[in-house]
Amino acid sequence: MVKPAAKLRALADSSTEPLAPFSAAELRKHIASEQCADESRPLAEWQAVGPDFVGRYHPSRPTEALSLTTELTSAEWHAVKHTGQGEWIEGTTTEEYLADIRASVLHASSVLDVGREANGRRPMRSGVRTELAAARTVLKKTAVIPDGHMFTVYDPERRRILTGFPLHATRALAKVSKWTNHRSFQ
């Protein structure tokens, strides 16, 4: 019996691979159950390009202020970044950030995308696009933007959720449309 992650890898590798024996909802449920990438890096490395997050609150220890040497896991970094950018409301914690991502992935309106990124190393990707307006009742801290989608990215090779963030529906579609072997399943 093929496992969900193996099916997502096969779907990323071939545009003729059938979805069966899974449904898109079952594969989304698998993605929602996975852990986030857990590599830890100092803030200075995460933010070498981008705005300055020094002095903002630590998303897992909110009474602690971030410094350049603060070690952040990938999930913590994404919580810092997306809250700073205003995509989650101020004060959102790592757990709350991840809870909104998982809730959006599980939402019935979501679309599953599969393929490989169109860059030099072409890593496998699964993506889930969720209409923010449709899912707003299950999202606790996400800032809902007009015509916005939550876009969640999963790496089926490493079996890790990489990120999730809201963006305009057309831009989310544009991102996945560039993938090699791209297909969408609802």
């Binding site: 990438a37 590599e39 890096r41 490395e45 995460w46 933010q47 070498a48 390009v49 981008g50 705005p51 300055d52 997050f53 020094v54 002095g55 903002r56 990938s74 970094w77 970044k81 809250t83 700073g84 950018q85 205003g86 101020e90 860059n119 190393r121 890593p123 990489l162």
Partner: protein, 123 residues
């Protein structure tokens, strides 16, 4: 945006300073970090109009416009390397809406993309 003007502009200026070194060792940088850097640079550039509007309301319009213009010019000078490394089109660097000039303001015209520093400074 939940960031302060200083958090934005200090980061934008740091980015312009550090990009040459990062681009010089781009292929040796971890894939996840490279994606982060590309996304963060795109966000900085896309957010300029919002930041300019925030700066106007904070009575820091001229200062922030000047500083973003200088950082934009520095980033524009790396456009070929950025296009190759991050797939970032030159249009994403120069395409910035700015608040209307005051009625008494000087009209500064820019003829081409090569005049990015002039165009951005017109902000």
């Amino acid at each position: 945006m939940n960031l302060t003007l200083d958090q934005y502009i200090n980061g934008f200026e740091r980015t312009a300073r550090e990009l040459p070194e990062l681009l010089g060792r781009w292929e040796s940088i971890d894939h996840e970090l490279r994606e982060e850097y590309a996304e963060q640079l795109a966000w900085l550039l896309e957010s300029r109009s919002e930041v300019h509007a925030l700066a106007e309301r904070a009575s820091r319009g001229v200062e922030i416009a000047m500083r973003t213009a200088l950082a934009t010019a520095a980033i524009f000078s790396m456009r070929a390397a950025l296009a190759q490394a991050m797939n970032l089109p030159s249009e994403a660097i120069v395409d910035v809406a700015v608040p209307a000039a005051p009625a008494s303001g000087e009209d500064i015209s820019c003829a081409s993309d090569a005049d990015v520093s002039c165009r951005a400074m017109a902000a």
